[in-house]
Point group: T
Chain length 67, copies 12
């Protein structure tokens, strides 16, 4: 039967956490196929000069290992 692998990424976006997750998925898709599920394990915002400059989502991506 098939085996699933997971990796951990941190995506970021100036627009929000859902956009930051998409950023991580888009990066991952360049080298990984068959992503099935993404869990979000951490939410942060970075601040400079009293303004939010980046939303960060720590994600775990689960994908099928192809053979």
């Amino acid at each position: 039967m098939s085996v699933i692998k997971s990796i951990e990424l941190i995506g970021s976006s100036p627009n929000g956490w859902e956009d930051a997750v998409k950023s991580a998925i888009n990066e991952a898709k360049k080298t990984i196929r068959n992503i099935r599920r993404v869990t979000v394990d951490g939410f942060e915002v970075l601040i400079e000069n009293d303004e939010i400059v980046s939303y960060q989502s720590k994600v775990k991506l689960y994908f099928m290992i192809e053979r």
Copy 2:
């Protein structure tokens, strides 16, 4: 004094996690009254053919037990 009960649901939506929480609350309202508080304990996205098809929010709903 009153007693509160909690149940765990997973709501889903193609639009985002806040919408997925509303989906779970709307389902719960069909059979439960007096929901007071909802905590979110997990955030996921499901992916098919490299596209996000569903946001999932695992929630715990707290409601007053009526007597």
Copy 3:
């Protein structure tokens, strides 16, 4: 070298969790300078009469101690 302090706040907003985080940051900025990073450790919604009245984000703010 510099020292960072963290405090815990709960922000709320009728519009969503990202807005609730901004609400907490805006309150903190009245008395704290040099906020650098905010992590979100809890997400809730409060419900009255079957409607969401408030989104709540429990946040930890990290800021440089000035000397």
Copy 4:
């Protein structure tokens, strides 16, 4: 062999946490038989006008499923 089910309740009392646990058990006994064990997973107090008005105990009740 027998199967055990657990549910989560929050009992409250003006007198203390042990009384709040009894309040949750008494409510549960109205509809559930064969409760065997109760674990307490959270202790809180609610405060109004600088006075404690309620002790709250978050409990998990374990009971035999009858057949």
Copy 5:
């Protein structure tokens, strides 16, 4: 979109933990349809007179809410 509910059970068996999980699923199937996924969150053995008399598996069952 569909909503998933979870409940927590403890199944037991004299034969092992996998059998104890089946025991919990079989009990649940009497009243619940559309079980999709079961996670196991605790493993125990009960001992009497120095012999294992029961394996216990604490499980969480996830099932679709039908409408």
Copy 6:
């Protein structure tokens, strides 16, 4: 909307954990208004010469920030 702040204290009492919580609340009330909720995250007893000399309750106090 309003913002809530939390702080962590350890109260102690020779009489028990509920009294130790009251001790922490009484200390906090000297400088903080609008305490709403107190969660208890740790219970200890200190022992000297084989006798319990102090009950300690580690609490988190949540209070409204006034503006």
Copy 7:
């Protein structure tokens, strides 16, 4: 410098959790000297015929190793 050892016990009492802690300490004192600190990591009640028959406190005892 001195070394501290910890052991885990579960004390029980029909009267409450503080009494159950004392029960564990009294048992430990028969064989252990120099107990300094006891943390409580779990609170349970056992129920028979719909009545609480026992309060249980899971404790960790810290004591100086004598040389």
Copy 8:
């Protein structure tokens, strides 16, 4: 009332985790009487030359203290 003590062991077996638990219980029975309950808190396998050589179960044994 009676007091329960717990100790932590790691049993191992070439045959599987249930056998590894039995190995730990059998070792414990040489010096401890009245074991009642065993929880399993960790599951590992050791590998040499690409083959599983040992299953390891980290267990906590709970037993009555005799007086």
Copy 9:
């Protein structure tokens, strides 16, 4: 001195969790040498039409980095 790396996989099998672990190890062996230790951090079963179709074991594999 040598450095160990860990990766996370989810193996599956129709026969049980130990077989699911072997499935993950066999997949890993195709590209990784010197696996030493595997910890199991999650156990699940997938269900279709009221029957268990797959056991899943979430594992962490530790292996020596070769130089």
Copy 10:
């Protein structure tokens, strides 16, 4: 009886984690008296151009509230 308060700081140093803890304590001593105990809840290193530039220790300081 006395009340203890805790605050969370992150100290840093180019020399190591023990030095980073001292850095946090030294900063705290400027405004806080009666620090009794410091627990370390996180260890990090920051890296620039492949070189460690800073050790960071996340600490919780416990101090007596003076009255």
Copy 11:
């Protein structure tokens, strides 16, 4: 196959956490043979008159049970 036992100690030293671990191991060696592995689960410093007087390392020692 062999069985491993673990015990929990807190070692202390005026010189640092590594020395505190050695202090715990040296104490344990007086009565225990075949210690194989020590994990460190907590790091503290004790402070008197604004000076660090002791580093404390909470350790778990794993050793083979001899037969």
Copy 12:
């Protein structure tokens, strides 16, 4: 915006945990560029013949993905 990836390594050294972290970073630098942050999630010592032979630091390395 940029994406960060994390991997988990265990470094070891006969000299101490800080040296073990450096050992893991040095190994990682052979194949990874742009390491920014390293968190330490576990500290162990290995013992042979009653002597510490190795300090082990379990680390998570965070690095920028280059494009």
